[in-house]
Amino acid sequence: MVKTIFIFCILAIFTMALSNTNYRFEKPSHFPEALYDFSKNPLKPEIIELGRKLFYDPILSKDSTISCASCHSPFNAFAHTDHDLSHGIRDQIGFRNAPALFNLAWHSNFMWDGAVNHLDMQALAPISSHTEMDEDISNICLKLSMSDNYQKLFEKAFGNNNISGERVLKALSQFQLSLVSAESKYDSVIQNLTVFTPQEKKGYELFLKHCNSCHSEPLFSNFQFADNGLQIDTTLNDFGRMKVTQNKADSLKFKIPSLRNLQYSYPYMHDGRFKKLSEVLNHYVKGIENRPGLAKDLAKKIPLSSTEKVDLIAFLLTLNDKKFVFNKEFGFPKLDK
């Protein structure tokens, strides 16, 4: 009896080891631990691939015209550069700029105001929004179940072809979690593979002094919320975080965005008000509106000469990750016959 149990256990362990084709999330060595709990959604190449299919498929919208990629384009580091405010279904205009998507496993909150608390649940927002995709997750499951191709893909990914909201969301998360950007020049410098030019180095020092408290390296954000003194756009009256917490102290606070891949992800800020980095720096140097909620770190003037601005921009450009933006594995998936 004991012997059979023993043999059974050995066999079980052996088969578990064999079937464990789970893909390890590759954390860049100079990054902190990721926040996403992979034990609840273990990465698997087939699930990532399914997520990629879904991300690029307009089937997620009511009239099959808008996919996630309509607003999050791979060539823009998954932001959108044509519009300051995002454009959705039937050409409706949203009220915020589509942020770039990468290194999402390290984010603690999602959306400019942190309305979403977990990457898995994020997709429900654009899917259900009347101005974005105007769909419903249960109807998406229905549409997907009518596709032989998706049935096969779910089977491959999850072992059977049950199509549930949970699976759709987890697959979308997996693809998005795979979007790691950590191969910019900055990353090579940090790993001692190359060096900054003297100008970039000066810019780096200015960055550490004036920007790093919020846009903290190596992710270039601490993912907190702050009021960086942008003048309020009265056509939008977007008070940011306050809408979620209903706390006055959070008025005009927005999620601090990463500064990686800025070359690809313009225009900048939650409403896409700035097209160029020079405009962003002009804001920090002389545009900040002093008001009660303004972040303490920005209360004192940031005095940057015009050469210093150029230096700082030179540094910011070392955060562009061309390999990430042109990585074929993240692009439009191959079409199935």
Binding site: A115, H118, M121, C141, E166, L169
Partner: protein, 221 residues
């Protein structure tokens, strides 16, 4: 193996099934969807009633005798099966404890399946969080479009955490319990005429969730 069968057989056949039934009522009658009910000199109807219960435990003499294997259940009057919960056969109990709604840990832990699958329509989309309790219907005095009222109660984050711990003592030890939820009393508290919609977490959702907590009544049957 045969021995096991001989032992099990009588238990399976003779033990009475233990069960908890949820019975949402209007003027003391079990609610039927779409039916008109007299309410304060007018007649109103219920079109949708769903709520989550989670972490259900059953107690006898202050000891937990049964713990639900499911983390949460969606009680939906349109889905009759969801109204009854079978517990271990023959089990007697004198107290039932559960959460009305979904706890904050579950609310921040990503996607779940089963009754917690977002296709169940009990998840806010533009802002994270489960809807703990959903009641929709019609009242001729509602000023809203189509005279509809819609109450979506939920919210897990302080200070607007709407989760309620419901603890119900039975009048006597029993294998069966019926839990009633008088919706007419809830509507009296909200007054659809004054407020036809509650769609997001806030102080009002917390208030109304606390009122719901007081309305549950249990009896053995």
């Amino acid at each position: 193996m045969r021995l096991l069968l001989i032992i099990l057989f009588p238990i399976v056949t003779f033990a009475q099934e233990s069960q908890i039934r949820f019975k949402p009522t209007f003027n003391a009658h079990e609610i039927e969807i779409g039916k008109s009910y007299p309410f304060e000199k007018r007649s109103i109807s219920i079109e949708n009633l769903k709520f989550y219960i989670s972490n259900l435990v059953i107690i006898l003499n202050d000891k937990i005798v049964f713990q639900d294997s499911l983390p949460a259940r969606l009680i939906d009057i349109e889905n009759k099966i969801s109204l009854s919960i079978n517990v271990k056969n023959g089990l007697k109990f004198d107290k039932i404890v559960f959460n009305l709604g979904i706890d904050s840990i579950t609310n921040v832990s990503g996607a779940f399946g089963g009754d917690l699958d977002p296709t169940k329509g009990m998840y806010w989309t533009w802002q994270s969080g489960y809807i703990n309790f959903k009641l929709e219907g019609k009242d001729p005095l509602c000023k809203s479009r189509h005279q509809k009222f819609q109450y979506h109660l939920g919210g897990y984050a302080a200070p607007y955490n709407s989760l309620q711990l419901i603890s119900l003592n039975l009048d006597k030890k029993s294998t069966r319990a019926e839990i009633r939820l008088p919706i007419d009393k809830f509507l009296k508290a909200v007054n659809p005429q004054n407020q036809s919609e509650i769609m997001s977490p806030g102080s009002r959702t917390v208030e109304l969730s606390a009122i719901l907590k007081q309305l549950f009544v249990v009896r053995s049957w």
